[in-house]
């Protein structure tokens, strides 16, 4: 098992290198001069030139890349052009926010998506199934930003139950932290719940037709035992993979949702950084989310093996 994980991590290295080259070149292709974006309205030519020199923007692109990757290997992702803060510090500040939002969203997604998926598979073809499908489709089709604004108007402005936006670190004030995160997590969670529901449903339907399920029923097991013990456990594999991937995506930041609810996570950081041509921040964040995504992929595969004994022989 350990050697499997080790091998997977080794394979991740070339992926990361390709990602870093890709991000770096994309930024250079983007029109817009970072120095112009940071020089201010006056655009004093002397300041522009000084900043170009300072941030090595006059060096050949290849040199710039190696300079950056060299720093990154030593844990130095450079300095934000916009705020003068080290990028690692910025990422360290945003990561807990994004992780908290991701976990809370996943909780919503599981709590809604999986029971709904099971139910609609078991009750296939009934009114319940249709209702669940309609709900899932709506969850997928309603844009996050719209749902977000509607929730703010309803829950915060009209009912006054929750703060409209903002963020409080969990360890400073847990209650307030949950209050501010619950709406954005719900918005993100409903969209994911829809995906989860659809996959749970189809996985369940596949397993429900298996011979061993018929056998289980024939043995006279209760319907509950048949569904939860024999069907769901076998259907859970694709759901685990999907969940890990969805979680990985959440780590990349939920741009629109973070923007609407003013949550200072990765999504907002990267949007602001792109608009300000804050190269170091964009590169740092993308690299970081790529690592997160690769790790989640690995977690999915490991879980897969743990949950499915048959896979162990393949290692």
């Amino acid at each position: 098992m350990l050697s499997y994980i080790g091998r997977r991590l080794l394979i991740a290295i070339p992926t990361l290198i390709i990602v870093s080259i890709f991000v770096f070149s994309l930024q250079k292709i983007l029109p817009g001069d970072p120095v112009l974006a940071m020089a201010g309205e006056d655009r004093n030519p002397e300041t522009l030139e000084y900043l170009r020199e300072k941030y090595r923007l006059n060096d050949p692109v290849i040199h710039q890349y190696f300079y950056w990757i060299g720093g990154a290997l030593q844990g130095d992702l450079g300095i934000s052009l916009r705020t003068n803060q080290p990028v690692t510090q910025l990422i360290a500040a945003k990561l807990p926010v994004t992780i908290q939002l991701a976990i809370m969203s996943m909780i919503f997604a599981f709590a809604i998506g999986i029971p709904m998926g099971i139910l609609s598979a078991v009750k296939k073809g009934t009114v319940l199934d249709y209702v669940a499908n309609i709900v899932a489709l709506s969850g997928l089709s309603i844009p996050n930003f719209w749902l977000g604004i509607m929730l703010i108007l309803l829950v915060s402005v009209n009912l006054g139950w929750l703060p409209a936006s903002g963020y409080e670190p969990f360890f400073r004030d847990p209650i307030r932290s949950l209050e501010t995160m619950i709406m954005p997590a719900f918005v993100l969670g409903t969209a994911l719940a829809a995906t989860l529901m659809r996959h749970t449903r189809s996985a369940m339907l596949g397993v429900l037709q298996a011979d061993y399920v018929r056998t289980a029923r024939a043995k006279g097991l209760s319907e509950k035992a048949v569904i939860l013990k024999h069907t769901f456990r076998n259907a859970v594999l694709p759901i685990v993979t999907l969940s890990a991937l969805l979680f990985g995506e959440l780590l990349a930041g939920a741009v629109l949702t973070e923007q609407i609810f003013t949550i200072p996570g990765f999504g907002k950081l990267i949007v602001d950084a792109v608009f300000n041509r804050d190269y170091a921040v964009v590169q740092g964040v993308v690299l970081c989310t790529a690592i997160g995504f690769i790790l989640m992929n690995l977690v999915a595969d490991v879980l897969y093996v743990l949950l499915n004994p048959r896979m162990r022989q393949a290692l």
Binding site: G40, E41, Y50, T83
Partner: protein
Amino acid sequence: MTLKRLMATLLASAALTGSAMAVDLRIGLQEDPDVLDPDQSRTFVGRIVYTSLCDKLVDITPDLEYVPQLATEWSWSEDGRQLTMQLREGATFHDGTPFNAEAVVANIDRSQNLPESRRQSELASVTGVEATGEYEVVFTLEAPDATLLAQLSDRAGMMISPTAAEEAGLDFGNNPVCSGPYQFVERVQQDRIVLEKFADYWNADNYHFDRVTYLPIPDTTVRLANLQAGDLDMLERLAPSDAPAVQQDESLIYEDIVGLGYQGITVNIDNGPNGDNPFGNEAKLRQAFSLAIDRNAINEVVFQGTASPGNQHVPPSSPWYVQDFPVPERDVEAARALLEEAGVDRMAVEAQVPNNPVQQQMMQMVQAMVAEAGFDLSLKATEFASMLSAQTAGDYQLSQVGWSGRTDPDGNIHQFVTCEGGINDSKYCNEEVDRLLNAARETNEMEERKALYAEAQAILNEDLPIIYLYHPSWIWALDNTIEGFVAYPDGMIRLENVTMAE
């Protein structure tokens, strides 16, 4: 019985002092400011925070007159090359460093010589600053500079603690130490900036909040929702489309004032090969284009009447506005006639527009209006940083762009239309305009300056390197418990004498 009463009294007084102690003000900003170092910073929102954090040598009134802040009085020498300032005694920086002439000298030195300083061009005329007494400084200038006081009323005049600046160097912005009514507590990027009252402030009695928190909330709808939900006490830059809703809401207060800036269309006249086309070469065509636009209609439709239609670098309400050239009424016939004079029937032009819905809607109106006069205007929606690059490089024909505005009129015009102007992206060049605008810089006599600007305007009104469209208003929405807020045309939020009713 007595014990009970005593307890009750104690509890009641504790509750009273409790509520009196915690007067917090929460202000919603449209963007997250950049680095909080007056020498390095460049964003408008950053200046809003500085207004409470960092005192300046001079301040302005809503009518743009200069009033004392850290300098109590000042005088110009006969030849206009020396400015002597008397400084406030008893002012201190937040770290306890006393404010005096030495501090001013150190500050001006940093603004001029720190390589990262964005203030260098603003103080270009200053050749030296000397402490001539503990509370007196003399600025020596290369040539008379009428704009210096305006610069000293903004970031170039903000005084930071020389001790802290020395220690922190370029990282000063992570923990700024100034001498304003509020001192820095903490900042969480893209989330909040917290200031608390500075007890030793020289004018502390007129500042009534114990804590001021700035919360960047970029989405205008969400910002307003926060105010309505009671999570904010005031917000800046309300969207004009929300103005009617706020005006009708009795729990909110609406405030606006026409700003110092403008929005217009910069024409590429001679910036590379793209300027070499009939529209760049023939002033008549630009005049026709300008005449085809109904500026009032744009204001009513896109800005709910909150903006001020304009045709000069300053708004019609400004004392510097040249009344001889009023905002033109739309005249399609006259525009057609000008096209004919130029020997053109119809012509295609392309404008780059920032890719935000308001500017695009505004330019679509322009597009429809000029089409009637004979211009086939195509719009190229461009993300702002890319647009700016294209504009500097001359890679454009027309560019819809604006300027946030400066207190002194020179800041709105000189660098845009003089031959060597730092942000003259049009590359318009006219020696007579240069002479007039330079002369207007070199005298402090308002009437004399106004006459020079009027002469320059007569030429610019014909040549139209920039077709001015309107002057946006600053709009604030406040909770109705807030009293004493005064709108300033520079868009800043000054908290002196602002209170919150219980």
